[in-house]
Symmetry: D2
Subunit: 259 residues, 4 copies
């Protein structure tokens, strides 16, 4: 019989916090508010802790569990999945990080022309001492238009694409769609994949009428998240790909909300 090197005791009496597989690309299915479910592709990390009585983790078991659950990945069944990982790998804690593209159909503001927009999302789940910690991350590209540039210039103002990243913990299930809507209503303007001329006029004028610094955007989103009774922790960042510099402007807030 083959020797099971991983199951032998470690040379060093050191516990390893996370052992597992990283950058596994896998097709998965996630919940979709409009269409019930959405097929997408994820970049996945799966880890367990490793006590010093074991030299290594049996890495193939992560892939077996992923295979079994990939058809239904949601906030609802994260706890079950992490418990199964713990049991299968004889571990006390388990982690799953899963980044994926999520598409939403949007209608252009005037013409109503429809197209799909991509939002990169991430589930960051940990199970330790019988307690689940689940973070939903949603990345929302928006337009930002600089209030200082508008104020000091005779005409126009520099504007650019910005990437807003929200991470949150909630006591209730949260739709990705709702986080996106919250962010898109808190920027100079939202983005679309398809804009006809009448739409381009609209978004240009809307952004000019709503000048916002990266600082303004994260503050407005923070205030809305605080008004949601279910949110217990959040981070919000805005990275603006400045049209006048070759570097980015950045603003970031992290907050724990005692409920």
């Amino acid at each position: 019989m083959m020797r099971d090197v991983q199951s032998e005791p470690a040379n060093h009496r050191v516990e390893v916090d996370k052992v597992g597989v990283k950058d596994v690309k896998y097709p998965i299915v996630v919940l979709d508010k409009a269409k019930k479910e959405q097929h997408t592709i994820a970049d996945i990390n799966m880890y367990v802790n490793l006590p010093h009585r074991f030299r290594g983790a049996h890495m193939s078991r992560f892939i077996e569990i992923l295979n079994k659950h990939r058809g239904r990945m949601s906030m609802h069944n994260m706890e079950g999945l992490l418990c199964e990982i713990e049991k299968t790998l004889a571990a006390d804690s388990a982690h799953l990080e899963m980044s994926f593209a999520y598409f939403i159909e949007k209608a252009a503001p005037i013409s109503g022309a429809k197209s799909l927009t991509e939002y990169v999302c991430k589930f960051i789940a940990a199970h330790k001492k019988g307690k689940l910690d689940f973070i939903l991350e949603v990345n929302v590209p928006v337009t930002s238009l600089c209030p200082c540039s508008k104020e000091i210039s005779e005409q126009s103002a520099h504007n650019q694409r910005s990437l807003v990243t929200v991470q949150l913990k909630s006591t209730e299930f949260v739709w990705i769609e709702d986080v996106i809507a919250l962010v898109e209503n808190s920027a100079s303007c939202e983005l679309y994949s398809l804009l006809k001329r009448e739409d381009e006029k609209y978004v240009t004028e809307k952004a000019y009428a709503r000048p916002m610094f990266a600082e303004d955007v994260v503050r407005e989103i923070a205030q809305k998240l605080e008004a949601d009774d279910n949110v217990t922790w959040y981070t919000v960042a805005s990275e603006n790909y400045e049209s006048i510099h070759n570097h980015n402007a950045y603003a970031y807030i992290e907050k724990k909300i005692p409920r």
Copy 2:
């Protein structure tokens, strides 16, 4: 006179934790153990906190300070630099993250042929309430050879390039060179840019004689860091670009050491 929009009060009574510039590419000079100093190129983030009495930060001031100090960037003068940022931007806390390539000349193990090897390093510095928090990060590519594969196979064993990342806080100045040496002595074998045939024989046989899981590598490094009286906190990760899979194996330890 032009209106100073940034200095006006914010619309929302929300403090922003970090406001600043991100992904600024700039040439800098860092300390070099062998040659006194080394010219390199950094990817830099600089932030301050922003109280709600201000709407925005004056971003250009970050670049002015970077310009002034870029000729001498080290653990020694981080505190002065961060205090200057706080003062110039009227802030209570300041952050600097600075990632850069660092080159060391190495001699091949048998032929002695010399070449340069690149190690990506990072300074992560924060100054809050008058206290400096400084993290040195060093990334060291190494060879790892799988103990399980060696044990169960008639001949050979799968091996691969792995990237080991060490982050540490120390009460004393730490040379990048010393962290690299510690890591390279804790893997199946170290890497070289230039190997003649006699060297290739040596590194192949050395790696086969020292099979190590990602788990073994991080444990050995952790134990050595704990033995250093000056280290008060560390993380160590090993990411193995498995030659038999299209994903990576990963192990990670984080530890605070009360001294």
Copy 3:
């Protein structure tokens, strides 16, 4: 009525070779040999030429066409799609580049355990003067084991993950699956997402029994492509992520085959 700036003549009498949209992320459906079709996500570029009688292209039309055809993207309907782009944008030539992840279920060599492996593929299609030029690109990660290292070392040999990229033009339809099989049979060993211990023994020993340089791999693939009567042009590259260096070994062949 709004002015149509794009349709006005250009200031300079210069024809632009390619004008269009780049890095559009969109869900698409492609043909699958085993399951008939596969839902995936593409990174898409679409271009037309722009004669000097026009100042700009109407970019939104690319997205409209993509929207219409995304449910069926294959070598079969590329010509129709490119002709539609030409017509809709009043152009003489059209280009489509479409990179996407493609998954295949594979059984481990001994245990038969099933898992999915990702292969990044690309369609590169151009239509000029009524003639279609279609290139299929398939990226296949494999194991390579160094023949020199095996020959000169007492035991073992350095091995690593390599990425083989094949591009080809063919007079007949080509299945992605067939290109992958051709490449996987031309390396030291193929990769799997899931390997049990008996499988790990098998792949370790197989790779040791089939040592191949990057040069050997591209030559073997080239010879097989030349033996296919339908292939009229190909490139084949192998990039080996050397386990003993921090840089890669590379080999590349390009060949036009007069038929």
Copy 4:
């Protein structure tokens, strides 16, 4: 004595077009118009052809040659370097691709405040049948402001950072600085790392006064390159990171100029 596997004949009678090392990070010195020389870091590929009488290339020799010449890398000594590669590796042709960051000190347009701006450059050199083929690539980030958006909107216009890439062959030596100046004069506005408020007003108004499509930018640059008697071939591309879309607008011209 150790067997020299690489020098043995190949199994297949297939010539390999390029064999060598890829993604070698190395510190180099390049020519600087203002300061005579500039220390930077390059990402380097070096290849030779491999006739079928050899099974493999001796990869370590590339690094030895790089080591010897890294202190002086310019268009002037590319031919000598490539000939040395050919001779040392017993090859008929040699290739060198070398991408590096290049910094220029610029003064802000009104305040005159000085800062450094990074431009990524590339040398692409090939030596075949005794003939040198040298391409200089310069990447210049600029501001572009949309003429259509300006025309149809009551106020303002969407604008964004764009990346312009010029590649050229010239019968005479070309300064990187001169290519950058040519491009920066052909966009809505140029970028700066450091802008005070009076400068921000200037660049905002300048961009609004010079609206340009990606198509306009590449046409203007093309026309200027054609007016240079030494340029025998060029490509020019502009990729606009649209502030109103999550994808980019793109325009590209390639031209050979018979002299």
